[in-house]
Symmetry: C2
Subunit: 220 residues, 2 copies
């Protein structure tokens, strides 16, 4: 009997779920192996072993090694894109509260993905032009909520007159610093204390002098 269209749709849905779980399986393994050895040293065999699948199967779900790298990096950048804004919304409508909450969450995500974040710096050069463009775009998208909070804050007179674009990238770099300079900071800080210490620093520069006292609690 010919399959009806509903049956076909179910099958496709099932396949999509399985495919996405296979992809996840491989991507998680990729982070582990790359953390151990770096992308170039990672042999497909080692990746297959870590993911508990065969080498051949990986090629059913990914076009090749480089595509795995791109997918791994996009995966982590997606987390930033999707998890920053909600954290800021939960902080209310005050721009400075929102900014602090966004930065704080940013550091948390970095902390949960220490190796993957370093990866985005290390291996992005490996990607082709298209891949690199994707990354740049995602990075700009990610910074948008922070940027908005900064714009609102300046607008409302709560913040000094500052270069919003520069500041939003600085905030991201400082958050990335928790990963990039982890070897240096880990003995002194936890992710929490790092976020607080950095907030104390940046808020000093951002918040307009006459409002500083109102936000001391953010940099306890």
């Amino acid at each position: 009997m010919a399959k009806d269209s509903a049956g076909v749709q179910v099958e496709e849905a099932v396949r999509a779920v399985r495919a996405s779980s296979r992809r996840r399986q491989v991507l998680d393994a990729a982070v582990v192996v790359m953390q151990r050895t770096g992308f170039h040293q990672m042999s497909m065999q080692a990746l297959a072993d870590e993911a508990k699948v065969s080498v051949g199967l990986i090629y059913k779900y990914f076009g090749g090694k480089e595509e795995i790298l791109l997918a791994t990096i996009v995966d982590i950048l997606d987390q930033f894109r999707d998890r920053i804004a909600p954290a800021m919304d939960a902080a209310g409508s005050d721009p400075i509260e929102r900014l602090a909450a966004g930065f704080h969450r940013y550091v948390q995500i970095v902390d949960e993905n220490l190796h993957a974040v370093a990866l985005t710096y290390r291996e992005s050069r490996t990607l082709d032009q298209r891949g690199r463009d994707t990354l740049k775009e995602l990075e700009v998208t990610t910074s948008a909520p922070l940027r908005d909070a900064l714009e609102d804050g300046v607008e409302a007179g709560l913040m000094n007159d500052l270069d919003v674009d520069l500041m939003s990238f600085d905030l991201m770099m400082i958050a990335h610093g928790w990963s990039l300079k982890h070897w240096h900071f880990a003995p002194k800080f936890t992710a929490e204390t790092y976020a607080h210490a950095q907030l104390r620093f940046v808020l000093e520069a951002i918040v307009a002098p006459e409002h500083r006292d109102s936000y001391r609690h953010l940099a306890s």
Copy 2:
């Protein structure tokens, strides 16, 4: 006739000079090729071509590919170590003037070595433990003059009470940002305007409120 010791010394000196110029030739080529392709894609053949020497000769001056990477990175870090302090000394004895001068020079050096700086982030994972330790040590050494200026400034009451270690690493990361995020900043800034804009930001947080006005000229 047996060579006298003076003769031997001269010969050795000549050889040392030639060797160091060969090494420079190769290291300069390495920066060019790695910028184009990254360390792992760089074949020794391509490096040899760029340096206008044969593949075999490279192995006379370097132990292997990885040693070239380490030498390339150490080379650039040495520049930071050797050129920051003089720039600060030229700025006089005021801690804040010194800090600003050091940061400014730091950005200048980054600008002169845009690709090599990015390299230190990208490829350090490739090195073995010993190489990585060398790098960490050099980075701490490099930050020392900035750190001293910060300590003096806090001591003298010119600066807010801040975490000196954190701040000195932040300053370095922000300077590195000119390389790491060059794709984003290049359309808006030159190295000079980048340094000034960032100084305006960090000095706002660093300089004690009652002294702010005295240093406005640093962030014109």
